[in-house]
């Protein structure tokens, strides 16, 4: 009876979602407010015709991805705060779980898993780096890239018992966090505003086209990857 009821509820929800689908506007045809239109025109997909992907140069912000330009350029100070929130939660996990002795999994790790993770891990790290280096061109960025790196570290923990990186993680985290603030202070020194985009922007769609946005995203990627890996390490140590 319970199963039947739950199946009924799920069916009802699916019907509801399908019935709401036609209400969503088609891709690229949403009616935008003045503000979002202005931001999109400053970046790439402006329908006004004055900004084109791969042609226009020296824009105010050259990121091809509008969300990236807002997150890491116009509201970069907010992102600094978000990274701090993540840092605080990692610190909390570390404080609560520290002091326990390290336990091991009941079974010894699988041979096939251990060797294949040994082969895959550099590629996973490289893919995380790819995601956060291309954060201003593709839907990606520091946070997803860091998460991919942490997933790789999680795989390493699952397959390898004798392994610990708590020290390295803290080091990388601290370095990248303070570099973020230093980049902001450089903006303050050059133009008088904290975290301003003081580097030149190139042609939209190139790799070096968005001033300090890629640099900050690389730092965020390192920092988020280190923090999440630290959380994984603490949880694993707790058993």
């Amino acid at each position: 009876m319970r199963r039947f009821l739950s199946a009924l509820i799920v069916l009802g929800l699916i019907m509801f979602f399908i019935s709401t689908l036609p209400l969503i506007p088609e891709f690229g045809k949403a009616s935008l407010s003045k503000v979002s239109r202005a931001f999109i025109d400053k970046d790439v997909n402006g329908n006004g015709g004055n900004i084109q992907y791969g042609v226009s140069k020296d824009l105010e912000n050259g990121a091809a991805n509008v969300v990236t330009s807002i997150v890491v350029d116009y509201r970069s100070f907010d992102t600094l705060g978000e990274v701090t929130v993540l840092f605080t939660s990692a610190l909390g996990v570390g404080i609560i779980l520290s002091g326990y002795k390290r336990k091991k999994f009941g079974r010894e790790p699988n041979f096939i898993l251990r060797v294949s993770v040994g082969i895959l891990l550099p590629l996973i790290l490289l893919f995380g780096a790819y995601v956060f280096i291309h954060g201003h061109l593709t839907p990606g960025g520091g946070f997803p890239g860091g998460t991919i790196i942490a997933a790789g570290i999680l795989l390493l923990y699952l397959s390898n018992e004798e392994f610990d990186l708590s020290k390295t993680v803290k080091f990388v985290e601290g370095i990248s966090g303070s570099l973020y603030v230093i980049v902001g202070l450089l903006g303050l020194a050059v133009s008088g505003v904290f975290l301003i985009n003081f580097l030149p922007t190139g042609v939209v769609g190139n790799l070096f086209s968005s001033g300090i946005v890629p640099i900050i995203y690389i730092l965020i990627g390192f920092k988020v990857g280190a923090e999440l890996s630290g959380i994984v390490a603490e949880l694993h140590r707790e058993g």
Binding site: R107, N110, I112, L113, S116, I119, L120, L123
Partner: protein, 106 residues
Amino acid sequence: MIILGYIFIGIGAFFYFLGGLGILRMPDVYNRLQAGTKATTLGSFSVILGVGFVNMDYLPKALLIIAFIALTNPVGSSVLARAAYLIGIKPTAKTKVDECKGGDEI
């Protein structure tokens, strides 16, 4: 080339269908994994290679995804089969031979 690509995609879709059917019909978890893993791996190769053929710009990344699936998919099913064997999930009654002797002495 486009036609060849779509033929590959069709073959891959058929193998995906077979994989689902195998997962549903086989009697125990080991046989299910056999059917599921083989069919979906070849299906993925075929679909992704077909997409690479239809649009040549995608080909390098498609090859990368193929290599990734070729490395991870058998490992995943192998780890899962080992876990099922270690916790002692009974194979189907048709199973006659068991040289690995259950438990930890694999």
